[in-house]
Amino acid sequence: MKTEGIKIEKMSPAINRMQIFKLLGIRYASPGLAVIIALLLLALLAPYLTIYDPVRASLSEPMHPPSIDHPFGTDHLGRDLFSRLLYGTRVSLMVGISAAALAVGLGAVIGLFSGYYGGRIDSILMRLVDTVYCPPETILLMVLVTMFTRNVWTIILAIGLTHWMSTARLVRSETLSIRQRPFVESAVALGARDGYILLRHITPNLLYIAVISVTLMTAHAILTESFLSFLGLGIPPHLPSWGNMLNEAQRDIMRGIWWTTLFPGMMIVITVLSINLLGEDLKKRLAPNREGRYEL
C-alpha cells in the first residue's frame, strides 16, 4: 500500500527519526546545546571532579569565601559549594527533564484525544484545561506539595500535573487541522482504525511540537523546582539542589555573604538560559513557518 501522491514533508514541517538525530547531532550545533552537554557532563562526572563530599559538614571552616581550596567558598556548615553545585546539577536536570516529559506527554495524549475524537470528549477535556488553568500555578503547586508527601518523585509529579495544559491546547488545534488533510481522509477511506491513524498518521506530524515543548518546558520546570526548593517546599533538604542551596543562603544575605547566593543562582540562570536558547533554535529549525506561539 503506497501513497506516493502525498508528500507529507512538503505540507507540514514533519520530522522523522533521522532528522532528530541530525538536529541533536553534530551537523547543527547550537550554543545552547553546547552548554547543556557541558552541564550533563558535569552532572555525570560529579564524583570525579571534586574531592569534597557534597553533604559532609566541616564545622571548622564555615562561611569561607572563595579560595583555591574551595573555588566557590563554603556554606554555613562548611560544606564545599563547588561540589554541592555539581551534585545539584544532577537533581535539577533530572527533575526538570522528567517533569517536562511528564507534562508534555500528558498534554499530548489529552490534546490528541480531544482533537481527534471531538464532540463530547473534546468539550469535557477542554473544560478540564480551562479549570486547571484558573488557579495560579504557584499556589496550586504549593497546595499539592503540602498535602501530599514530599520527595523527588512527588515534586516531579506535581510539576507535571500542573503544566500539561498548554501542550494539550497546542496539540489539540494541530490535530484538528491534520485530521482534515487528504492523507487522513484516504486512510479512513481505506478502512484504517482510529488507533492506527492516530499512531501512524497524526502523531508523527506532531513530533516536532513535542520536541520543542519538552525543551521549553524543561527550562520552566527547572525554574519551578528551584522556586519550590527555595521556599523549603521542594526537594528534601538533605539532597543538594540549587533551590535548596538558595534557601539556606537566604539568611547569609543579611550578613552580606554573597557567594552562597550568587553561585547557585548563576547555575540556574545559565542552565535555564541555554535550554531556552536551544528551544528557540529548535523552533526556528523545526517550525520555521509557524506563527503559533509556544506559551507555557
Binding site: 495560579p136 500555578e137 499556589i139 497546595v143 517546599l233
Partner: protein, 328 residues
C-alpha cells in the same frame, strides 16, 4: 453601552458558572484524595491530639466523614457558597476573614509592580522596535532573555543584597517601619520607602512579557499597508510609529494583562515571602509551611476567583477599546 456589547458581556458571564463548578471540584478532590486527615485539617493537630476518642467520633460524624463522597462534596460546597470557608489554625480566625484582610496589601504591591513593569517593558520594547537590528536592540533583547531565565526569587535576593545590605538605601522587609510614624505624610513616605524594593523586583521579573510582546507586535505592524500610506503622506517617522503603529499594537496588550494575572499572583508569593510583605502571597507561604489546609484551600478558591474576574474584565475592556471586534 449598546445592546450587542451587553449581550456579549452576558454571554461571557454565563461561561463562568461551569468554571466555578470545575474549580470547586478540583479543590475538593485535591483535598479528598490527599492523605491529609480531615479532622486534623478542620481542627488542627494539637486540638485533635488532646481529644478523647469519643469526642473525635462525634466530630467525625458532625463533619459527615461517614457519608459518601458526593454528599460530602455538596455539604462542603454549600458551606463555601454561604461564606463559611473554614477556620485557620495559624491565624486562629475564619479563613475568609484572614484572606480578605490580607488582600489589600497584595493589591497595592502587585498593582504598583505591574504598572512599573508595563511602563518599563512597553518603553523598552518601543525603543527596541524603532532601533530594530541596532546594538541597543540586540543588547535589550539579550538582557530580556537573561531576565526571562532568572527566577524571581534570585532577583529579589540579589536586590536585597545590593540595595538593603550593601548600600543600605532601602528596608529589606515588612510594609512599615517598626516605629511607625503617626502623622499622615511621614507614614505615606514610609510606605513608599518599603514598597520600592519589592515592587521593583516584581516589575523587573515581569518586564520580559511586555517587552517581547510590544517589540514583536510593533515590528509586525510596521509591515502593514497603513504604515506605508502614512509614510507616503509624508508624515514624520515618529508620528508614523507613535500614532499609527504603536497605538494599534497596544490593543492586544489588554488581553495579555488579563492572561498574565496568574503569573503575577505567583510572583507575589515569592516577593512577599522574601520581603515579609503581609499579603496573600506571604499568607500562602505561611499556610504551606505550617500545614494550614483550610487556609490553603481558601487561597486556591480565592485566587482562582481573582483570575476568572481578571480575565472577564480584560475581555470586556478589549471589546470596549477596539470597535472592530465582532461581539462573540
Amino acid at each position: 453601552m449598546d445592546r450587542s456589547l451587553a449581550s456579549y458581556a452576558l454571554r461571557r458571564v454565563l461561561q463562568i458558572p461551569p468554571l466555578l463548578l470545575g474549580i470547586s471540584l478540583l479543590a475538593f478532590f485535591i483535598f479528598y484524595l490527599s492523605p491529609v486527615n480531615p479532622t486534623i485539617a478542620y481542627l488542627g493537630l494539637i486540638t485533635v491530639q488532646k481529644m478523647t476518642p469519643e469526642d473525635l467520633a462525634k466530630v467525625e460524624e458532625q463533619l459527615g466523614l461517614d457519608k459518601p463522597v458526593q454528599v460530602r462534596y455538596l455539604v462542603w460546597l454549600e458551606r463555601i457558597v454561604q461564606g463559611d470557608w473554614g477556620y485557620s489554625h495559624i491565624k486562629k480566625r475564619p479563613v475568609l476573614d484572614v484572606i480578605l484582610e490580607r488582600f489589600p496589601a497584595t493589591l497595592l504591591l502587585t498593582v504598583t509592580g505591574y504598572s512599573m513593569s508595563a511602563l518599563l517593558g512597553v518603553l523598552l520594547g518601543l525603543l527596541s522596535a524603532i532601533k530594530a537590528g541596532s546594538r541597543i536592540d540586540v543588547a535589550l533583547n539579550g538582557l530580556n532573555y537573561v531576565i526571562y531565565s532568572t527566577p524571581t526569587f534570585l532577583v529579589a535576593l540579589l536586590a536585597m543584597l545590593v540595595f538593603a545590605v550593601w548600600l543600605g538605601w532601602l528596608p529589606s522587609s515588612r510594609m512599615v517601619s517598626v516605629n511607625t510614624p503617626t502623622s499622615d505624610w511621614p507614614l505615606l513616605l514610609d510606605r513608599i520607602h518599603h514598597l520600592i524594593l519589592p515592587a521593583s523586583v516584581l516589575a523587573i521579573s515581569h518586564m520580559a512579557v511586555f517587552y517581547t510582546y510590544i517589540r514583536s507586535s510593533l515590528l509586525e505592524a510596521m509591515q502593514e499597508d497603513y504604515i506605508l500610506t502614512a509614510r507616503a503622506k509624508g508624515l514624520q517617522e515618529s508620528r508614523v510609529i507613535l500614532r499609527h503603529a504603536f497605538r494599534n499594537s497596544l490593543l492586544p496588550l489588554i488581553t495579555q494583562i488579563g492572561l498574565s494575572l496568574p503569573l503575577l499572583i505567583g510572583g507575589s508569593v515569592v516577593v512577599e515571602s522574601i520581603f515579609a510583605w503581609p499579603g496573600i502571597g506571604k499568607l500562602t507561604y505561611d499556610a504551606a509551611l505550617r500545614a494550614d489546609y483550610m487556609l490553603l484551600m481558601g487561597l486556591v478558591l480565592f485566587t482562582s476567583l481573582l483570575v476568572i474576574l481578571g480575565n472577564l474584565l480584560a475581555d470586556i475592556a478589549y471589546v470596549l477599546a477596539d470597535p472592530r471586534v465582532k461581539y462573540g
